[in-house]
Structure formats: C-alpha cells, structure tokens
Amino acid sequence: SQKIEQNSEALNIQEGKTATLTCNYTNYSPAYLQWYRQDPGRGPVFLLLIRENEKEKRKERLKVTFDTTLKQSLFHITASQPADSATYLCALLRRGSQGNLIFGKGTKLSVKP
C-alpha cells in the first residue's frame, strides 16, 4: 500500500539545538516533496520544496534533504528557537499528478528555552 509517514508524532528539543524531522514514503514515485509549518488553529504555510533530482535545499536556518533510494526526506532546523515550535508536515506530489499533494500526519516540534 502507499504510505507517507512522519516517524515522530512529537519532538522536544532544547533551544539552540538542531531539530531533525523525518518523512518516509512507500510505493510512491514523487516528483517532489514539500514541507509546511502549521500553527494551532491555522492553515499550513509552505516552507520548502525539493525536487526528485535534488539532494539538498536550504533556506535560512532550514535545510531539506531528499534521498529517493531510501525514500526519505529529512527536514532540519538549525539554531532552533521557541518560535519554531509548531507542527511540521511533509507532502509529496506524485510524478504525473496535477497538484494533488499527499500529506503526512505531521510532527509536533516543541523547542524549550
């Protein structure tokens, strides 16, 4: 069966450390992966996109990697801050699809001061 999984429901880290979130998928052929941030009571906000032929993308303190052999994407937040506390969602677009994203359930990140 096709699945997209974010391994941790919750991740607690200390301020200043690097947070690493995992997204694994099975039986999909993704054209690319996206990462979104969702705060309570709000809709998701787009953060980063990485294509199937890209290994790594960076944006400020954020870094995303994509390993199509392992069928895995890692999302890193360096020098984490309490304001980074939120739920982070990964989503993939299947190759040939027109825009219908498949979302994981998310990882709730808590950064403690």
Binding site: G43, L89, N100, I102
Partner: protein, 114 residues
Amino acid sequence: GAGVSQSPSNKVTEKGKDVELRCDPISGHTALYWYRQSLGQGLEFLIYFQGNSAPDKSGLPSDRFSAERTGGSVSTLTIQRTQQEDSAVYLCASSGTGKSYEQYFGPGTRLTVT
C-alpha cells in the same frame, strides 16, 4: 495582497442537515484544493479544480460531498445530510500557474456535527 479566505470559521450543525463552506482563493490562482483535517490525522485530499478542466473528485469520501467553483474563483464545498464523522477542519488552498505547486492555505472552517 490578500490570502485565501474561508467562511464561516466555525460551523455547528445538527446531524442530517446540509452545510455549505466557502473558499475565496488568491486572485489569479488557477488551482483550488479542498482538504479535510481530522483530529490527529493528516490532511486528506477531497477535490481539486484547475482552470476550466473537469475537477479531480477522487478524494470525496461519499456522494454526500460535492463542490463547485464559479467563474474560476470562489468555491463552495457542500456536505449533505451531515454525519458526526464529518466533523473536522475543512481547509482550502490555492496555487498559481507555476510548476512548483506551492499551495497557499486558508485558515479553515471547523465543522462540528452534533
């Protein structure tokens, strides 16, 4: 500019009643999506509109759910004969004509069926 807006923000309805949820996408965005998010669950795709093409309805859970998009802009999601399992946050998103498919989400409508 203005983002995606949805109305109402909250809706409480009795089981068996019909409800309509509205989405105003970002002006100029050709693609519009509806998702459903239940407590502890990921976003579940419902329906997708792209320009004047026939919508992709493959995610609609039953024939009680329908959606339309008028004039390529505003969209309405209708749920007929609501059931308690329909209780969820309904999210609308839109995206532009670029190939990145980056989606801009509205704040959602929280539907509670009593």
